[in-house]
């Protein structure tokens, strides 16, 4: 392959893997944007999604994409329950408390999975796991493309939800000013539950979608996903759901180009450096906006 | 008498909006300058620009003949500015005394002395009996006085008061007016934004009227309150 073809291939890979990152990140963006909680358990919910796909595959022989039908609603309700019984109780405490709570949740999820499934890495073998097709000389991985499509659909759906629906407006209002939202008649507790439910649902969905591509282990993978999600979220702008996709793609391309043309051992650092640069020059993220007044 | 503070041609823009347009002012020690104008006229923005809390587009600020235009806010404080915020901003998790102590530490290093200074300022504003109460629990009038105490404890030469009288009931208002007068009597230069005309008229030596970021009138309280444009834009007719 000529240099330029390889370059194109790398860009394509970066964009595709960026779609994966975006998928991992959007739930976190949403939760952070509305609840101002750094959800350290986000990656563990992704892992939980992966295990749910493993479980459905083992018990019912389902393809991961089929198990989305069950896993997403379950994820939503799990999120609602966690919010109701844990996070809603620390909402008025200092912000560190919520961080602590999510750390606790993270430990509980990881170790509950460990006790149920054991520590072996798990994955779901699908026939299309390594299949590719090529467009204009560029190889495209089937699973990555599927994940990318899922990302675009989810983000579009969320965008519509947030900007075109009543609930969406209520969510944004709650994010901006909780008391103000209550005063206009928004049940902000319910909104928080819904938002966290959506966040977990998105995490679970990311996990299910990614299982043909990756693998899950109970305790290590969660932190890796959480970290990626943070980076994506900040790159795009906290709370800006549409920007998660830009953040994800930026991260993917930066990492892939860095690993392809530079030192591959620093791959994880390239994204973090981009993350720091963005934070320094645009603290509100690439597409974020905030109003600050003295 | 020499001017303590001079601000020349202050212009502040937010995006495309000019919030303050080419406003100048000067102030001598022991004098009170009143700043009035409709809501959104740019009074707070002008305060912020002069005290260093909002970036200025153009203009020049001198304090005691020293050009401070390029200095950050905290350095201006060290050189002699004290300010309050329109929405009070106490250090909520600390006690009233500690709030003032922080400001007092600017001029004295020893804790015992700083504490003495802070207490004396609290006496002055009438909060001494609340010294050990968490600042969070104060009511509006007391929060205002705390805000004032913090501004005074840095031993300023110029003090900026942004609507410290809004929301006070008449007795509290009277006390505040007397208090501000005593400040200027001590030689402080006072710059105050107020919508309460009673206070402006009673206290100000000179009044500047802003509207839409422009200076539309200035003069003695009597002059500006009888100014047609001011009445139309700001005071209204009874």
């Amino acid at each position: 392959m000529a240099g330029f073809d390889i370059f194109l291939q790398n860009i394509a890979n970066g964009v595709l893997i960026g779609g994966v990152y975006a998928l991992i990140g959007i739930g976190l963006t949403l939760v952070f944007g509305v609840m101002r909680t750094i959800n350290f358990a986000h990656g563990d919910f992704v892992v939980l999604g992966m295990y749910s796909a493993v479980l459905f595959n083992a018990l019912l022989g389902w393809d991961p994409y089929l198990s989305l039908l069950l896993a997403m609603p379950i994820g939503f309700f799990a999120g609602v329950i966690v919010e109701r019984f844990i996070l809603s109780r620390v909402i008025d405490a200092p912000p560190e408390s919520a961080l602590l709570a999510t750390l606790g949740i993270s430990l509980i999820i990881g170790n509950a999975i460990l006790l149920t499934f054991g520590g072996e890495p798990r994955s779901v073998q699908v026939s299309y796991a390594s299949s590719t097709f090529s467009i204009a000389g560029v190889n495209v991985s089937m699973v990555l493309l599927l994940a990318g499509i899922a990302t675009v659909i989810m983000i579009a759906a969320l965008y519509v939800l947030l900007n075109r629906t009543e609930v969406g407006r209520a969510i944004r209002g709650t994010a901006e000013n909780r008391l103000g939202a209550e005063l206009v008649g928004i049940d902000t507790r319910r909104i928080h539950s819904i938002v966290f439910g959506l966040g977990v649902m998105l995490a679970v969905m990311a996990g299910v979608t990614l299982i043909p591509l990756l693998f899950a282990t109970p305790t290590n993978t969660g932190a890796v996903f959480t970290l990626k999600a943070f980076v994506v979220t900040v790159l795009g702008g906290l709370g800006n759901v549409g920007a998660a996709i830009a953040g994800g793609i930026l991260l993917g391309v930066v990492e892939v180009l860095g690993a392809s043309y530079f030192m591959s051992e620093y791959r994880e650092a390239y994204g973090l450096i981009a993350f720091l640069l963005i934070l320094l020059f645009r603290p509100e993220g690439l597409f974020g906006r905030t109003v600050k007044r003295v | 008498m020499p001017n303590v503070l001079r601000a020349d041609g202050i212009t502040v823009k937010f995006g495309g909006v000019t919030a303050v347009n080419n406003v100048s002012l000067s102030l001598g020690s022991g004098k009170i300058l009143g700043l009035i104008g409709p809501n959104g006229a740019g009074k707070t923005t002008l305060f912020n620009a002069v005290t260093g809390f909002a970036p200025m587009h153009s203009g020049k600020i001198t304090l005691l003949d020293k050009d401070i235009t390029a200095l950050p806010a905290f350095k201006r404080t060290r050189l002699g500015f004290g300010r309050t915020f329109q929405t009070e901003r106490p250090f909520e998790e600390l006690t009233v005394l500690e709030n003032v102590l922080i400001a007092a530490f600017l001029t004295v290093r020893r804790r015992s002395e700083a504490e003495r200074l802070a207490m004396s300022v609290l006496e002055q504003v009438g909060l001494a009996d609340r010294a050990h109460q968490p600042a969070l629990d104060l009511n509006l009038a007391r929060r205002r006085r705390l805000e004032l105490a913090k501004a005074l404890a840095v031993k300023p030469k110029v003090i900026f008061l942004d609507e410290i009288m809004a929301g006070l009931n008449p007795p509290a208002l009277r006390e505040m007016i007397t208090f501000v007068r005593s400040l200027s009597a001590q030689g402080l230069a006072v710059l105050m934004v107020e919508h309460i005309m009673e206070a402006i008229i009673e206290l100000s030596d000179h009044v500047i009227v802003l509207a839409s970021g422009e200076k539309i009138a200035e003069g003695t309280p009597h002059q500006v309150t009888s100014n047609e444009r001011v009445i139309e834009a700001y005071l209204g007719t009874d």
Binding site: M1, N13, G119, E120, P121, S130, S141, F215, T219, S264 | -
Partner: protein, 374 residues
């Protein structure tokens, strides 16, 4: 009653291995006690979790040391086993390494630390012996260039280092040398780079779980090589399950396998399988091995005297279904058993021992066909 202390990772990041080691230890324990224990006394095991953290392992080691156990077995990760070895040496408590394979544990080593299982020098040599062997058996298939891909953990790094040393020593050309950090496993950039270099041999040392993604993506980007070796990950039974047909032809080094031509290996496999309730691997065997070595030494020593236990360990000379054990000091190592590593190849979805010749169950299938033809 003789009590042996075990420090094992049952929770935290290394729990997957801890579970397997525990199975092996228990199979050995049953066997030992069924055969009369230690000089007629029951052997008991106290297995304590170290949460995959050095500080907990050290706290436990202190408590074992003060309790007077004759020896301690532990642990998996080198970041835990290293400090443990240092501490137990200073406390003069004999220690048998459970899982850690890092050279640094027994090199320079200490008179108190013993390892019956392999290390990176042994494993690296096994791989290159295997490559040499393939080169010699099929002269028409040139094997000249190697590309290396490895995680940045202690084990992958040291095995890669050993590989690089051996490659130059034996006349292979290293055409790719890339390490990676644990992340969302996307190896495409590296694999694409390798594709440009067109290596004959892929020498891959992954974190336990990454081999699955590497193999799938290798197929996806069409990276072909005549020999593909993936350390650790490919040895796990789950590897075959998750990679499917693409797993075939992949080679991996282990300390033990069920079809190795050692007496009792097959029977040990059955017992491990029964205890584990699933497909066992060499990890279980290593757990078994550690305790068998301990029991042998305890039988020959006075369990009340750690000095005598240490001496007995140093004089170990036994044959087990896992390997023969004989702690030599050679090549700068101390207390290291010169175990023979085996090379397994996955053939039709099964792990088969293919090297060394005298222990092999079958011939290696060589060369690995291109992805497009399978």
């Amino acid at each position: 009653q003789v009590e042996v202390g075990v420090i094992n990772s049952l929770s935290g990041n290394f729990a997957a291995f801890g579970e397997r080691y525990r199975t092996g230890l228990q199979v050995a324990l049953d066997e030992i006690n069924a055969n009369g224990g230690i000089k007629g006394q029951q052997l008991t095991l106290t297995i304590q979790d170290d949460r995959s953290e050095a500080k907990s392992a050290l706290a436990e080691a202190e408590s074992f040391a003060s309790k007077g156990v004759p020896l301690v077995i532990g642990s998996y990760a080198s970041s835990i086993t290293g400090p443990l070895a240092q501490f137990l040496t200073r406390q003069k408590v004999p220690m048998i390494v459970l899982g850690s394979a890092d050279d640094s544990i027994t090199k320079p080593g200490s008179p108190w630390v013993f390892r019956a299982k392999h290390n990176s020098t042994i494993v690296g040599k096994a791989y290159f012996d295997y490559f040499d062997h393939l080169k010699n058996t099929k002269k028409d298939v040139p094997l000249e260039t190697v590309a290396m891909l490895y995680g940045n953990g202690a084990w992958p790094t040291s095995l890669a280092k050993e590989g690089k040393r051996l490659a130059t020593e034996r006349g292979y050309k290293v055409v790719g040398d890339q390490s990676y950090d644990q992340g969302v496993t996307d190896f495409r950039p590296i694999l694409n780079r390798f594709r440009g270099a067109n290596p004959d041999i892929l020498y891959i040392v992954s974190y336990a779980e990454d081999g699955v993604a590497i193999t799938r993506q290798m197929r996806e980007v069409g990276l072909n090589a005549k020999v593909i070796a993936i350390d650790t990950s490919a040895a796990l039974p789950s590897f075959v399950q998750q990679v499917g047909k693409s797993a075939d032809h992949v080679a991996t080094a282990v300390s033990w396998s069920q079809d190795v031509k050692y007496p009792g290996a097959q029977e040990l496999y059955e017992r491990l399988k029964a205890k584990a309730g699933g497909e066992p691997s060499f990890y279980e065997a290593e757990g078994y091995l550690a305790l068998m070595v301990a029991a042998d030494a305890l039988r020959r020593a006075d369990p009340k005297s750690r000095d005598s236990v240490r001496e007995a360990l140093a004089a170990t000379d036994i044959t087990t279904p896992v390997t023969t054990v004989n702690f030599k000091s050679a090549d700068g190592f101390q207390g290291q058993n010169p175990i023979r590593s085996l090379i397994l190849q996955i053939q039709d979805g099964k792990h088969v021992t293919v090297f060394p010749d005298d222990l092999a169950a079958k011939q290696a299938q060589h060369p690995t066909p291109e992805w497009s033809t399978r």
